[in-house]
């Protein structure tokens, strides 16, 4: 994917503790009685070198905001972790100093930018636990972690299918993003990039939200109940 010109501009380093404090102090999630149509969701995806939260490193984060069930492109976010993307050889070209390329620092910077973007939104991801854990690990050095309510589309899809029966919910097979895409006939361009998967998840969430509404789930609290 070609990056726009502004992307190569040198990213500013944040003072991690300050950034985490600003996020925590400004954190104001929607009350659970808020109708979900009035809430802001951030549907996101992370790409990492593997599935081991401790050993694998963050490669990219992308997210897109939704106002209720409407996907708002202007409210989107994408960050590639420079250290892994360009490698040490490319550093002078991008004007990155060596400590920027130290994987941890850049992962943290990306995660901090994401914190600022997310604010108090409801976080949504497919198999969200992994993405949240990955970001929390990146934020830990600066004393931060995600405070947002989290909605897992995988869980929501199973829950809606089970129709409120805990027994059936437990027996429902896991639903991959590809299965959801096929179910709703969604196109899947740029699959397995953070941006492609986040947008695909957002379009799947639109359908899930309509299904939820049909079952009488109208508020943020209704959606988040597990």
């Amino acid at each position: 994917m070609a990056l726009p010109a502004w992307w190569s501009r040198r990213r500013m380093r944040h003072a991690p503790a300050e950034a985490v404090r600003a996020y925590a102090e400004g954190f104001a999630p929607a009350p659970s009685r808020t109708p979900w149509r009035e809430a802001r969701f951030v549907v996101f995806d992370t790409e990492a070198t593997g599935l081991d939260i401790g050993a694998d490193r963050l490669l990219s984060i992308a997210g897109v905001g939704m106002r209720g069930d409407v996907v708002v492109l202007r409210d989107s976010f994408e960050c590639l972790v420079a250290g892994d993307r360009v490698g040490a050889d490319a550093a002078p070209v991008h004007g990155l100093v060596p400590q920027d390329l130290d994987g941890g620092a850049d992962e943290e910077s990306a995660a901090l930018d994401f914190l600022g973007y997310v604010g108090g939104a409801i976080l949504v991801a497919h198999h969200a636990a992994f993405d949240v854990a990955m970001l929390d690990r990146c934020l830990a050095a600066g004393g931060g972690r995600l405070l947002n309510p989290v909605l897992d589309t995988e869980h929501l899809a199973r829950r809606l299918k089970a129709g409120g029966s805990p027994g059936r919910l437990a027996r429902e097979p896991r639903v991959s993003l590809d299965v959801l895409a096929a179910r709703y006939a969604l196109e899947t361009p740029a699959r397995h990039t953070a941006a492609g998967d986040a947008l695909l998840t957002a379009l799947a969430l639109q359908r899930l939200l309509h299904a939820a509404e049909a079952r009488g789930l109208a508020t943020v609290g209704d959606l988040l109940r597990r």
Partner: protein, 675 residues
């Protein structure tokens, strides 16, 4: 946006690229460059609507956004009211790629219809301000946008004009689909848009050879010889053009007239008045003027009229040598053809040329006037061959007569060679006893012309509408009686057949005969207003369908067809309507577009509608000619699936115009009372 003072703008380039690609998959956004598409993508919100969701309501103010259908479809209905029993009227269906809701904003009017999703639909919602901003810097996009939102509400006015212009920027018909035997020469690739750019301005001759009106013919001829030019412009004291003296004037009016002395004033032998035009017209417009009026020169003046000073001259010769001399070559070959095979060869070349011009998106008015100029010249040549044969058989001179082109050829709208529709009118014999002999003589002449035309590729009319038919080879008085009967005693069936007689155009011979016939028709129709009602009702026989939806044509009855009879369902209603209105207004114009434009000049109230109708008709002519060349037939049936989206939208945009024209007819001629 980052809270932490980062200057990096946080909009996902990956998502923008995905959305931009989807946006740009459809007209008009397919014409945008990556930068503009990215900017538009950033303003997009994606909405998923279940079937039956209301998007906007008829009569309410535009809400500041437009919808591009990504998946699903939107119904636009008038008179929509959930509580009422009355059925809403479906006015349009928007499917994948259509843009809905923008027109009301552009027109600064309330929504003309209620929009609801017909099935679950994925919609890209864009603020109209983003579209406005795009159009501001990109007039070409504005035109394409206009063509696209046809689905939103009927496309009208400037928007229709844009659609017509942009319908021309479409793929050429596939080559190789022309069956063998047709258009015998493969058209050589015409470097059309470079060599023959209709929008290019032409540099006129500025270094003019002129003389005052009192100059002698000898002086004028010397000036012409000294400068080696074929004409001299005659100007008054204020450098205003009052005439032109050409080589041909010198030959015919001075040398051949013998007794004209060389001291004669130029003003007595010059051609006057001259045809003037303003500066800066496009090549297409200039050629149209020249071909249409058979002029050799166009005099440019300060304000385009003869009452201001000359600024330059455009000559047909210079134009056509500078811009590709193919049309003149064909025309002069037609003029000089000695026999039928030579006429055929010249007309075949002419057809190849027309095909290239169609492919090159030259204006329809120019293409039609070229085709008509070629056909007229061919007919004139056929008449010359016929009168030569007649002269051999008859020592006494041939009485005055005129050859009439009827139907589409009469309207000057025949782009491709189809079957003949013509007739012959001759001067009344002084003595009744001569009538039979005269008729026999003209029937022979008519048969000679018809068989020449047949040999040149215009097959004989299966309905025998030809000048060789005793019913259609009549004296002026007989013609007046025939048309008078049709007008006074109209019968629906007879009228369908007869309507072509009201599209008659003088094609050669004595022009005073058809002029007298036209005056007579006008007088008769004034006496018989019922006739116009019948003619109007005829126009209402075959209204256009509602719309196209995906690959199908949607009828008002709800049925679907996958091909479209563009002649019966779109062109004939317009041509019929133009005929009624033109006959009523006693217009001289015979072409459908020309009739609508002339009507617009008289009826200010309907001027916009008539201009739209003229544009729509030109668009339909082009679609049909393209389809005909591609399919190797008359082009009458369009395969809807095979048309591009933009073409389909442009075609669909003509339906609303046709409907409005038919509504005018219904109201004016009270056709409801005839049922």
């Amino acid at each position: 946006m980052s809270l932490f003072g980062s200057i990096v703008r946080m909009v996902s380039p990956g998502m923008l690229a995905t959305v931009a690609a989807r946006l740009g998959a459809h007209a008009p956004f397919d014409a945008l460059d990556a930068g503009a598409l990215g900017a538009l993508a950033e303003s997009v919100e994606i909405r998923y609507a279940e079937a039956g969701e209301l998007l906007f309501r008829e009569g309410t103010s535009p809400e500041g956004h437009a919808f591009q259908v990504q998946k699903g479809s939107i119904a636009l209905e008038r008179g929509f009211d959930e509580d009422a029993d009355a059925e809403p009227v479906l006015v349009a269906l928007a499917d994948e790629g259509d843009l809905v809701g923008f027109r009301a904003h552009l027109a600064k009017r309330s929504y003309a219809a209620t929009a609801t999703t017909r099935e679950p639909s994925l919609l890209y919602v864009m603020p109209v301000a983003a579209l406005d901003a795009l159009m501001e810097g990109n007039p070409a996009l504005a035109g394409r946008l206009a063509a696209t939102f046809a689905a939103d509400a009927p496309l009208r006015g400037e928007a229709l004009a844009s659609a017509v212009r942009h319908s021309r920027v479409s793929r050429p018909p596939p080559r190789g689909s022309v069956p063998p035997g047709r258009s015998s020469q493969p058209p050589s690739p015409l470097p059309a848009l470079s060599l023959f750019d209709e929008t290019r301005n032409i540099e006129p001759i500025r270094d003019l050879v002129t003389c005052p009106p009192e100059a002698s013919v000898a002086e004028a001829a010397r000036a012409m010889a000294a400068r080696n030019v074929g004409s001299i412009l005659v100007l008054d004291d204020g450098r205003r053009p009052i005439g032109i003296l050409t080589d041909s004037d010198l030959r015919k009016r001075v040398v051949a007239a013998e007794r004209v002395p060389a001291t004669t004033a130029v003003s007595e032998v010059m051609s006057a008045p001259v045809t003037t035009a303003p500066e800066g017209e496009s090549l297409a417009r200039v050629l149209e003027r020249l071909l249409g009026r058979r002029l050799k020169h166009l005099v440019l003046t300060e304000d385009g009229t003869p009452s201001t000073a000359v600024t330059g001259v455009l000559s047909e010769h210079d134009l056509l040598t500078a811009h590709g001399n193919l049309p003149t070559v064909v025309l002069s070959d037609l003029r000089r053809a000695r026999d039928r095979p030579a006429l055929r060869r010249a007309r075949d070349r002419g057809e190849a040329l027309l095909q290239q011009y169609l492919d090159a998106e030259i204006s329809m008015a120019l293409i039609a006037s070229m085709a008509t100029a070629m056909n007229d010249r061919l007919i004139r040549r056929a008449l010359a061959l016929a009168t030569a044969a007649d002269a051999e058989a008859h020592p006494e001179p041939l009485p005055a007569f005129a050859w009439l082109s009827l139907g589409s050829e009469g309207r000057g709208e025949q782009l491709l060679r189809t079957d003949q529709d013509n007739a012959l009118v001759y001067a009344d014999p002084a003595e009744a006893v001569d009538a039979a002999a005269r008729k026999t003589r003209f029937l022979a002449l008519g048969e000679h012309v018809v068989s020449t035309l047949d040999a040149a590729g215009f097959v004989r009319c299966p309905g025998n509408i030809m000048g060789s038919n005793p019913e259609l080879c009549l004296s002026l008085t007989e013609w007046k009686e025939k048309l008078g009967t049709l007008i006074r005693v109209p019968e629906p069936m007879a009228l369908m057949e007869a309507s072509i007689f009201f599209d008659l155009r003088y094609a050669g011979g004595d022009a005073t005969l058809p002029a007298a016939l036209r005056v007579h028709v006008h007088e008769e129709t004034r006496e018989a207003p019922r006739f116009l009602s019948f003619l109007a009702r005829n126009a209402l026989q075959n209204p256009p369908p509602l719309s196209f939806f995906r690959g199908f044509m949607v009828e008002r009855s709800g049925t679907h067809e996958d091909r479209f009879d563009v002649k019966a369902r779109a062109m004939m209603p317009l041509a019929d309507a133009a005929r009624v209105l033109a006959v009523d207004a006693a217009l001289e114009e015979v072409g459908t577009a020309a009739r609508f434009r002339a009507l617009g000049a008289r009826e200010r109230k309907n001027a916009d509608l008539y201009e739209e109708a003229a544009l729509a008709y030109e668009l339909l002519m082009r679609l049909r000619a393209r389809s005909g060349l591609a399919q190797g037939d008359s082009g009458r049936f369009l395969e809807i699936e095979a048309m591009g989206k933009l073409q389909r939208q442009a075609l669909r945009s003509t339906f609303a115009v046709i409907d409005d024209v038919l509504t005018v007819l219904m109201a004016r001629y009270r056709t409801d009372l005839l049922r």
